[in-house]
């Protein structure tokens, strides 16, 4: 029974990894944002294939049905990735605000210079 969920988890991890590589190759995903995805996919693949490791880990964290432990770990990886995105978005927002301010100030200076030249 468990072999089916093992195969499914392995396939999901493998497809995810393939998609990530494809995205990087096409320059649609920067490496710095791909690392957490790759790590997550590899963890899922390894644990899906390596039954003994998964069972050991699930006993360690007190989950008695190993596939549940796999899902718990996958969800945790997802949360780490989401938090990382929130940090990235916050930085982008700060950068965007600074650029907007600088741009508006420069535009004002350009207009003043143009007026001076026009006189």
């Amino acid at each position: 029974m468990q072999i089916r969920i093992q195969i499914l988890s392995f396939l999901i991890g493998a497809v995810l990894l393939a998609i990530i590589f494809q995205l990087i190759r096409k320059n649609k995903l920067l490496e710095q944002y791909a690392i957490l995805w790759i790590v997550s996919a590899v963890i899922v693949i390894v644990l899906a294939a390596w039954r003994g490791m998964l069972e050991k880990m699930s006993r360690l964290i007190g989950i008695y049905y190993p596939p549940s432990a796999l899902f718990a770990i996958a969800i945790f990886c997802g949360m780490v990735i989401a938090l990382h995105f929130s940090v990235v978005i916050s930085k982008l927002t700060n950068d965007k605000n600074k650029l907007t301010q600088e741009m508006a100030l420069l535009k004002n200076q350009v207009e003043k210079l143009q007026e001076k030249i026009g006189e």
């Binding site: 600088e102 508006a104 200076q109």
Partner: protein, 241 residues
């Protein structure tokens, strides 16, 4: 230094205030102080910027709406670039009375304060506002006064004057949205001297408060979170002398 003429700037953040901004600018230019006015048009969809320019203000037009903090900070940066000695912040909606600016400037000089906040509540000026807003203002008063160990009665007031040192600091460190209560804590924590003076304010004529009742809860949560986090932040190491 003594002979050098002091440059004085009024920073006016405005978002969709074409109805009020013209008279706001003219009123400031009419006070008994040599003052330049810069209006920060925070991505308005109406003719706020054009109206302000025609009324005699310098206009900085932000292509994207940044929120009032981002707009005011642009004003601080403008003041730094153009080497102003003092700045006063006046809302673009006509709520603040330009003739009261002299009270802020007086306190800035006589009390050697870095920042002067115009307060509606220091003296009973009969300022009416909704129950919900009064509760919020009281909460800021209690929390901020506790945190910074100085009684500030009007933390949400955007009617403030700054000296050069404060301008330089705030041009790098100013919260982007709902900045007023938080900036009180940031400034005090970084060693700036704050003084409150009583001022009169008008009831709003045009437009509406940047805080609708819809956003009030978010506003309170965001500002209190920011203030709470600020308490644990390291002191900024680059404070201009």
């Amino acid at each position: 230094m003594e002979n050098k003429k002091e440059k004085f700037l009024a920073i006016v953040p405005a978002f969709n205030e074409q109805g009020a901004i013209g008279s706001v600018v003219k009123e400031i230019l009419g006070i008994n102080l040599p003052v330049d006015v810069v209006v920060i048009d925070d991505g308005s969809k109406d003719r706020t910027g054009e109206t302000a320019y025609k009324s005699g203000a310098e206009v900085i037009k932000l292509p994207i709406n940044l929120g009032i903090g981002g707009a005011v900070q642009t004003g601080f940066k403008y003041a730094v670039i153009n080497d102003y000695d003092f700045a006063v912040q006046v809302d673009g909606d006509g709520q603040h009375i330009a003739s009261e600016i002299s009270k802020l400037v007086k306190a800035l000089k006589e009390d050697s304060a870095d920042v002067v906040i115009g307060s509606r509540f220091l003296e009973k000026q009969g300022f009416k506002s909704s129950k919900a807003r009064q509760i919020g203002i009281t909460m800021f008063k209690i929390v901020n006064s506790l945190f910074i160990r100085q009684k500030i009665t009007d933390n949400t007031s955007g009617f403030r004057a700054y000296n050069k040192r404060a301008i330089l600091f705030l041009s790098e460190n100013y919260p982007c949205d709902y900045p007023e209560p938080e900036s009180v804590v940031i400034l005090k924590k970084n060693g700036f001297k704050l003084v409150e003076v009583p001022v009169k304010m008008r009831e709003r004529e045009h437009g509406e408060s940047s805080i609708s009742s819809f956003k009030a809860v978010y506003y309170m949560v965001k500002v209190f979170l920011a203030i709470f986090v600020d308490l644990f932040k390291a002191k900024k190491d680059k404070i201009p002398e």
